[in-house]
């Protein structure tokens, strides 16, 4: 081995060291802000850590056992699932329709685009409090609007009945978040060359066929990515029910993230709160992996075609 063969290796080693030195601050920050809290939360989930009892002792899987036999958790999980599924279906469908509408050339489009974003731009807490009054049986604008539409007095206690309270929360969530989803889809729509549509039209393709074979593949990556983000945001959402219903009646509109918030800041039961956080995190990781897999399969199929 002579000096001519050693030199490139030394250079490569130095380059590697240099690369590591450059990315080290980012790795340290990432570890401190993500890995450390994650590990600590998992560790806390195995403790009987209740601040009001000045308790911080090893509890093993006690919190996890409690999670699966807690009577209020079943209702909370059930509504979290419904909230996520219904919200996502409507946000995606209405978001695409709204984006297609905004993509059509018409007078006043910039104005419509601007006002469409208002619900999304408003803080959720503000919307939650406003909607608590909006859906109030006596003073709410919802009953007032229906009364004006049907021409006779309409009184309904939206937030006091299980089904209607759940409907109201999901409805407000859809109303608030659809515009942002639509704007994202609109951005994707605008990257599709108009020549493709013209060529399809010349070939005799109708609107539905063009949508299926040009529009949908063109926006599929955006739909996949935004769909994943929106799903995770729904699962970790708590502020709307916090301000609008406080999870009631009973646990009918309680979301899992709302339950987590109560355990953390109200009852100061850090062990149980950490357990809920770990389970929530695991579910979110699972959904991310699944959706990534689905997106990969869809992309492979698209390439084959």
């Amino acid at each position: 081995m002579n000096s001519l063969t050693i030199a490139p290796k030394v250079k490569r080693s130095r380059a590697k060291k240099c690369i590591w030195m450059l990315i080290l601050p980012a790795v340290v920050i990432r570890a401190a802000t993500m890995l450390y809290p994650l590990c600590v939360t998992f560790y806390y989930s195995l403790l009987d850590y209740r601040v009001t009892k000045q308790l911080k002792v090893w509890g093993g899987i006690k919190n996890y056992e409690k999670f699966f036999r807690d009577p209020s958790i079943k209702a909370t999980l059930s509504f979290t699932l419904r909230f996520t599924v219904f919200s996502m279906v409507f946000i995606v469908v209405l978001g695409i329709l709204f984006a297609l509408l905004l993509n059509v050339k018409f007078h006043g489009k910039p104005f419509l685009r601007s006002i469409a974003l208002i619900p999304w731009a408003m803080p959720t807490i503000v919307i939650g409090i406003a909607m608590r009054w909006g859906f109030n049986g006596t003073y709410g604008f919802v009953n007032d609007l229906i009364t004006r539409l049907i021409g006779q007095p309409f009184n309904y206690d939206w937030l006091a009945n299980v089904g209607s309270a759940q409907f109201s929360v999901i409805f407000v969530d859809i109303w608030k978040n659809t515009p942002f989803f639509a704007i994202m889809v609109l951005a994707a729509l605008q990257t599709i060359p108009s020549e493709l549509y013209e060529a399809a039209r010349v070939d005799g393709s109708g609107a539905i066929r063009s949508f299926r074979h040009i529009t949908l593949p063109g926006i599929s990556k955006t739909l996949g990515t935004m769909g994943l983000f929106f799903t995770l945001w729904r699962i970790s959402s708590f502020d709307l029910v916090y301000a609008m219903t406080s999870g009631g009646p009973g646990s009918a509109t309680s979301l899992i993230a709302y339950k987590l918030m109560l355990e953390t800041v109200k009852t100061l039961n850090y062990g149980y709160a950490s357990c809920i956080a770990v389970i929530l995190f695991a579910v979110m990781v699972l959904i991310t992996i699944l959706s990534k897999g689905i997106m990969r399969v869809l992309a492979t199929r698209g390439e084959r075609r």
Binding site: V51, T52, K53, Q54, K66, P71, S72, I129, R132, W133, N136, G137, T138, Y139, N155, D157, W158, L159, A160, N161, V162, A165, Y242, T245, S246, G247, G248, P249, G250, S251, A252, S254, M261, L262, V265, K266, T267, L268, N269
Partner: protein, 399 residues
Amino acid sequence: MKKLFSLMLCLAIMLACCPAFAEAGETVTILTRYAAYDNWDKIVELLEEKTGYTINTILATTEYSDYCTKISSALTVGDDSYDIIDVDELLGVTFEAAGYLAPIDEVVAYGGDKYLTSWMENISKSGDNYYLIPSSYSGIYLYVNKDLFTNVGVAYPTTLDEFITAAQAITDVDNGVYGLGSAWMQGGYMFNDIQRLIMAFDGDFYDWDNEGTRKAVQFMYDQINTYGFTPKSVISEDYSAENQKFADGKYGMIFQWQSAYTTCQDEWEKYEIIAIPTFEKAATIMTSWGFGINGNSKHKEAAIEILKAFTDVDVQMLTLGIEYSQHADVLSSEEAAEDPTLVALAQYGAAGVIAPRAMPTYVNEIQDIMETNVSAFVSDQISLDECCANVNFGFEDLM
């Protein structure tokens, strides 16, 4: 020149950091809802004059659940932005148990004897130390709308049967008028009615197999579903909605804190506070918010001096324009005799019908369990047996 500049800079930093020099201009920050009242400025002026410290007030939200979240989060992470905080009994006992408050035994030794012994021993004291000094005083009163009673020609109720009869007589569903209003939104509102009714039906807060406790919860269900004199909407409403409906003549009666008087004060001739009727017994609840010192505060000594001065009678008299005082000299003053809620408070006290709420250290946890289950019961999601079993299970779990 550079050396001189560095020396001066070091000196300036040392002066800023040294408590002995900083003390002269020490500022104590108080987080309270009372900052919205005119009299608060007068109180601050007087406290500053008495102690020589500067007081910075931060207005706290009146939305109770938001306040709980904000203050709990701040104390949990060791925030020292507030030196003195204003907390209700639920938060008070929770924070005492969690070790978030600093002891104020000196304050209690200075002026604590002027306050209700039961409150000082049950709420302010934890272990061997005191942590809170009352900042307000209120009870749940029975307010009536005089016109609605006159219209249907029924007398003010004194017994449970009379109460049900009067409430049903006033109820006119077609016109949106109900005999009894409530606020049962979860997050503290419903909890007060649960506590009050358990006391009124002679139940046991800690035992949900107790007959009186079950009767109390059943009565809440019956208000809406059997007698129909309370609208179902109360399940999702807070005090602001309840007070507004009462002021709009939609409720014949409400059991409510002093806030209903504040809402209806301008047309008080239409309303009245009456004696608490006897269900199993005549009973209602009282509350006092209290000032405590943040355990993380860097100005504990100054905060103690301010709280001492706060117990002085001239400062306490100014609280009459806010949410009243528990101070004995204020309650027996001529000014207090002009206020209908304080008169009622004195009458309830004399009749022995008013008492503090049960406040175990795990009160926030049990409150959540009780409200979730009672709300589910009154909205027909679960049975009374399931409701009571779930609450009992909650107690067992917390013990």
